[in-house]
Symmetry: C2
Subunit: 395 residues, 2 copies
Amino acid sequence: MLRQVAVIGCGMTKFGRHDGKTLLEIMVEASLRAIDDAKIGERDVDAVYVSTMLSGELSNQTALGSALVDQLGLMPAAAHRLENGPASGGSAVKNACMAVASGFCDLVLVTGGEKMRHISGDRITDLISTMVHPTAEYVHGVTLPALAAMFTRLYMHRYGLKREHLAKVAIKNHANALKNPYAHIHQPITIEGILYAKEAEVNNPLVADPLRLFDCCPVTDGAASVVLCAAEIAKEFCDTPVIVAGLGQATDTLAVHEREDPTLLKAVQVASQKAFKMAKLTPADMDLAELHDAFTILEIAESEDSGFFAKGTGHKALEEDVTSLGGKLPINPSGGLKARGHPVGATGVAQIVELTWQLRGEAGGRQVQGAEKAYCCNFGGFGNNVISFVLTRRN
Amino acid sequence: MLRQVAVIGCGMTKFGRHDGKTLLEIMVEASLRAIDDAKIGERDVDAVYVSTMLSGELSNQTALGSALVDQLGLMPAAAHRLENGPASGGSAVKNACMAVASGFCDLVLVTGGEKMRHISGDRITDLISTMVHPTAEYVHGVTLPALAAMFTRLYMHRYGLKREHLAKVAIKNHANALKNPYAHIHQPITIEGILYAKEAEVNNPLVADPLRLFDCCPVTDGAASVVLCAAEIAKEFCDTPVIVAGLGQATDTLAVHEREDPTLLKAVQVASQKAFKMAKLTPADMDLAELHDAFTILEIAESEDSGFFAKGTGHKALEEDVTSLGGKLPINPSGGLKARGHPVGATGVAQIVELTWQLRGEAGGRQVQGAEKAYCCNFGGFGNNVISFVLTRRN
């Protein structure tokens, strides 16, 4: 990129239920927190990027970029909405970065959000499935949980992954979320409770074999927001700007069955390699990572294809607590999609928020001590659209 | 911008009805034409930007960026979808320009499209209205035709505009569209037929007083596509690159009644001033313009607020044939939204296609002789999100 970009402000709503508030209202709340955090004073915001996957379908509102600019009184700031499935947030952050890097903007607000809890789970699953292949998958009832289940089965068969590993991702991320006041789920779980106990079958029912309820992220309302600026002016606003050191994006085949090796998330590999190359860093340099664990299996697979662990060994690292808070590479200290929640359009932005808080040392009880470099991976479709970022603390 | 951008390829489907084809299929058709036109050979496309307003609502498909990359076999190109109401196309072109200008990409495909004809007109009007103010306008039944009608009434009252002026916009644009093989409407109309004849009330019924059927753009299926690259490499692909000399964008209040002067399209003013300033050119330098005439009144109002004519005098210029083919500043030689048609997500891209064809001298019977500089204005919401471009031929 021709010009470096910094994150100077962050804000989120509590993830969870926001009955009685509109999507736009929760986006305003997150935006105001980020603007306040960025201490931009009277300075003009040049552009606003909004990410939401389903605002038209779920909230009967389109062109939300302009609506947010209006509500925040930021006219005449340029307004855009990105929709890129679950990678909408990363897509908005990336385009905002390029708006700054191109010299076209100096100061940009990015706000992602989704309001989903007011709609039935069946309808949500159907709407989210509109991103899979329309004729090879969707019409046959292949939803996202179905794809993730088949992917998990193959993983178990090929790499010796067991249901206990999946459960451990959930247990770890639920534990992390207890330390995150913004997380949707504040519920400690145990392997006994979700797998071995007599009532486990009832408490943790099958969703799509072998995935159970606690293997799937919840349906969540929420919004997250960041303020970006040209790195050369970042110190005007804050003492601890966080630098967007690297970013990468890649697309894979839409239909999962067309991939040579369906267990390989090639777009994760390519996107992460691009991000690390741009940052001139390696996976081993990272102090923490936020991965897109919409299903427990995805945290494990992404931890491998992002370059942290060899293929088929992610569950070993998990087993050995490498990815727990206090381990060598904490993954999803925020609680991840699994427990912080997954308001689809907010997720990619919320990952940047968590990384920024961690790099600033503001992550409270879940702080990764001395974190200076961090990675996140926002995963769209079933791995067909992946956007990775490497963020670093400027010392 | 830190790096100049050029248009090196264009393609469109015929605008009209595309029964039996999906939105994705017509986008593929336009994309292949643009890629073929750009003669990029084996060179990789770095990113694909898709614009569509209502793909989820009308075609049950989201995340269309990845789907298009997949269909075109352009993996691992980065994929994004922009939704910005009727300004979606301009929004996609603008972000693609910034992707190149930032140094992040060298070669980018932008494809806009919408498939709308398979849905009832009432439902279309309702879905398009999801971009107006949700509580101040939408819930009161204020649709886009209703807003345009109130705007027209005020214009008539204040500036002496008559229904004959509105009719003349339609007649001129229908005549231009007869020379555009891609246009939806190939139907010559006369003032006698649509206003004075006994059967005019039947042929041209009221939609929202004073606007009649022929004052409103049709509901259209179609897709349009451009290939952009860094200007410094444009000559590798074509002899006549067209330069994105200027671009500007602005947001106005979402609710029209909140504007100090509701007849003033402030976002058009700001966006065009920014575009002209960046291009170091003035409205007087332009050889033609494509304006966003979703309703006849909009061509007149935008011709004023873009800086071509003083406020309240656009209809005089129209009367004097200044804006007709052969006049000093032909407006909408393509037929405009009025007659080329308005597949919402395609429109902003189709404007760039028309400007490029005109600047290359490839516009056939509607060619503006010797055109070297051209302007377009993509108008979202009811003027709350406007994106203007100035394109020039590199000699």
